[in-house]
């Protein structure tokens, strides 16, 4: 039996009177690539923000590494926050720092590494995410959308987190770049034993790298499990999302398995 790293129970989210999540529960296991799917505005980003303690749910319980995050002390919370890396939907790089400084920031804050070591790590992370060395001295405003995504991923990876949250990592990348990104994430998971939670709309990512996934529709979980299990669902949203002609033609092989 695999170990659940994140456990969400009976989560309810509200903004004012508007309910975003209505009693949803799920688990994310160690070393898997877990997808959060759903239409625009269905509450994917909000769900991740609740897990990483940026927003408080209205009710329900979220446990990470077996601990209820609402009862953590400040110190425990700081420690927990160091064990994950987050790639925000819009990058959220620090605009007044260069890319290299952005990546070095958590290293300088949380470790006692020497300048030389930090430089090596920054160079390695840049290379890993496919950015050229000259990007290091550029400012976020000088980067393209795809470069921002990559730089933000490099920053998320800086502290070698065990848990990685990615909000639409491949949106805004060119198709080749997106597939390389997928490959990279898979590679990192395999080599570094990461657990990856990613929000995505990208069908290629969904069919190729996700181990399990969760589909939010109508405030509830419309489908949950491996791609096979999700496709077996007859929920109207699943039908609409996966069983249209385009998907059928393109992913015929995967659909038949």
């Amino acid at each position: 039996m695999k170990k659940p790293i994140i456990k969400v129970q009976d989560l309810v989210t509200k903004f004012g009177d508007r309910v975003i999540h209505d009693h949803i529960s799920f688990e994310i296991f160690e070393k898997e690539i877990f997808g959060i799917l759903g239409g625009s505005g269905s509450g994917k980003s909000v769900l991740v923000k609740e897990i990483i303690m940026l927003l408080r749910p209205f009710s329900g319980k979220i446990s990470i590494f077996g601990k209820d995050i609402s009862t953590l002390s400040f110190k425990e919370a700081q420690e927990l926050k160091r064990s994950w890396g987050v790639l925000f939907q819009f990058g959220a790089l620090f605009t007044s720092l260069t890319v290299a400084q952005n990546i070095a920031m958590p290293l300088i804050e949380y470790t006692t590494l020497s300048k030389k070591q930090i430089e090596h790590i920054v160079a390695a992370k840049l290379e890993l995410v496919g950015l050229k060395p000259f990007v290091a001295s550029m400012y976020p405003s000088e980067l393209s959308g795809g470069m921002i995504k990559r730089a933000a991923l490099a920053r998320a990876l800086a502290l070698d987190p065990k848990l990685l949250f990615l909000d639409e990592p491949t949106s805004g990348l060119d198709p080749v770049g997106a597939r390389n990104f997928d490959k990279l994430i898979q590679e990192l998971r395999d080599i570094l034993d990461l657990t990856v939670v990613m929000i995505t709309h990208d069908l290629d990512s969904i069919f190729t790298i996700l181990d399990r996934m969760l589909l939010i529709a109508d405030k509830k979980i419309a489908a949950y499990g491996t791609i096979k299990e999700v496709l077996a669902s007859t929920h109207p949203f699943v039908e609409e999302f996966f069983k249209n002609d385009f998907v059928k033609k393109r992913y015929l092989k995967e659909l038949n398995v």
Partner: protein, 364 residues
């Protein structure tokens, strides 16, 4: 030793790596490595490392390269994953990141050129603002809503703080003057002092300074943030003229509200002086008002008010200009906001001095 162990075997040296090779330990590992005295040929055994991450492997690669340059080495005891990570990261170790070095004189030169450029840009901004005046106030193009909003936030919103500051200033001046005037037995002249200094100088100046701090800074921050989020570009792309949309409503709002605020500050400032005179010199309210009526000519009040539209335009222009100067990072919002307040307060005081000279020369 926590991370290394050295053993001599026949004519071979065995370096055993052990412990956790993770990011939080990498600096200790490096320190320990520097203390090691090694001889070659050398065999590195990594089988006792019980945890590693990419930073640990990078540290290992650094060490490996250093040793390799010195003599014959061999690595044993790694598993498939460690090998993969090693292979993935090894090429990255020689990457040189570009560094921008800056020299003191460079910075001085750059700052000077920057200052000069900003001055030219300000002239261009002024020119363009005034060139767009008639376009912006055409009823079709005029942004009433924005202007009213800014009158409300910069004008009505400032009433309380202006009341407080001008009341206190009126009072302080009265207290200071009363000590001197009392020595000469010229108590009643306190009314002249208060009336004329408040209406001619203090109220316009204090009000302008408060407004520069409150509204000038907020204009810069608002426009600066709009620049960073590309709202300005969005407006331009839709053919909205930023001078009509952003600059003129703010200028006009301040030009309308600053005189009104100054009028208000006149009243409250004199009232502050009146209270202080009563307590310090025992001049009754009716005595004060009677004397005020005699000595405070309307001229003083008008000369004070004439200055305020100039102050208002200065504050609004500097505030907007500095907002447009914000470059693409959040830090520059702070820098420009500071510069905006400093510049506009300085210019307000400079203009005030200029007015004083003009009034004196004209003999009014």
């Amino acid at each position: 030793m926590n991370y290394f162990e050295v053993k001599q075997k026949e004519n071979q040296t065995l370096l055993i790596c052990k412990g956790e090779w993770i990011i939080y330990k990498a600096s200790s590992i490096e320190k320990e490595f520097k203390k090691l005295k090694l001889t070659f040929p050398l065999t590195i055994d990594v089988s006792s490392v019980n945890d590693f991450d990419s930073a640990g492997v990078i540290e290992f690669i650094t060490i490996y390269k250093k040793l390799k340059a010195k003599g014959k080495i061999k690595v044993i005891g790694y598993n498939q994953k460690e090998l993969e990570l090693f292979k993935l990261l090894e090429p990255t170790i020689d990457i040189k990141l570009p560094h921008k070095k800056s020299f003191f004189l460079d910075d001085v030169g750059k700052a000077a050129i920057e200052g000069f450029k900003n001055f030219l840009l300000f002239l261009a901004f002024l020119g363009e603002t005034f060139a767009k005046f008639f376009y912006s106030i055409k009823p079709k193009n005029f942004r009433y809503k924005e202007m009213v909003y800014h009158i409300y936030t910069s004008g009505v919103g400032a009433l309380f703080i202006i009341a407080l500051t001008s009341f206190l200033v009126g009072m302080v001046v009265a207290y200071q003057a009363s000590v001197q005037l009392h020595k000469f037995g010229a108590d009643i002249f306190i009314v002249d002092t208060i009336g004329i200094s408040v209406t001619r100088e203090l109220a316009p100046l204090i009000t302008a300074i408060v407004v520069a701090g409150r509204s000038g800074s907020s204009y810069t921050a608002e426009i600066g943030a709009m620049k960073i989020t590309e709202e300005i570009n969005a407006m331009k792309s839709m053919g909205f003229d930023v001078y009509a949309f952003l600059v003129w409503p703010r200028i006009l709002a301040l030009v309308i509200s600053l005189p009104l605020l100054t009028f208000f500050a006149d009243i409250v400032g004199i009232y502050g002086g009146l209270i202080a005179s009563k307590f310090e010199l025992g001049i009754s309210f009716s005595q004060f008002v009677e004397r005020l009526y005699e000595v405070l000519k309307v001229k003083h009040y008008i000369l004070g008010l004439i200055k305020t539209p100039v102050f208002a335009a200065t504050i609004a222009l500097i505030g907007c200009f500095r907002g447009f100067l914000v470059s693409d990072n959040t830090q520059s919002i702070g820098l420009q906001t500071t510069a905006s307040v400093v510049n506009s307060i300085f210019l307000v005081i400079a203009f005030d001095a200029l007015f004083s000279v003009i009034y004196t020369e004209l003999g009014i």
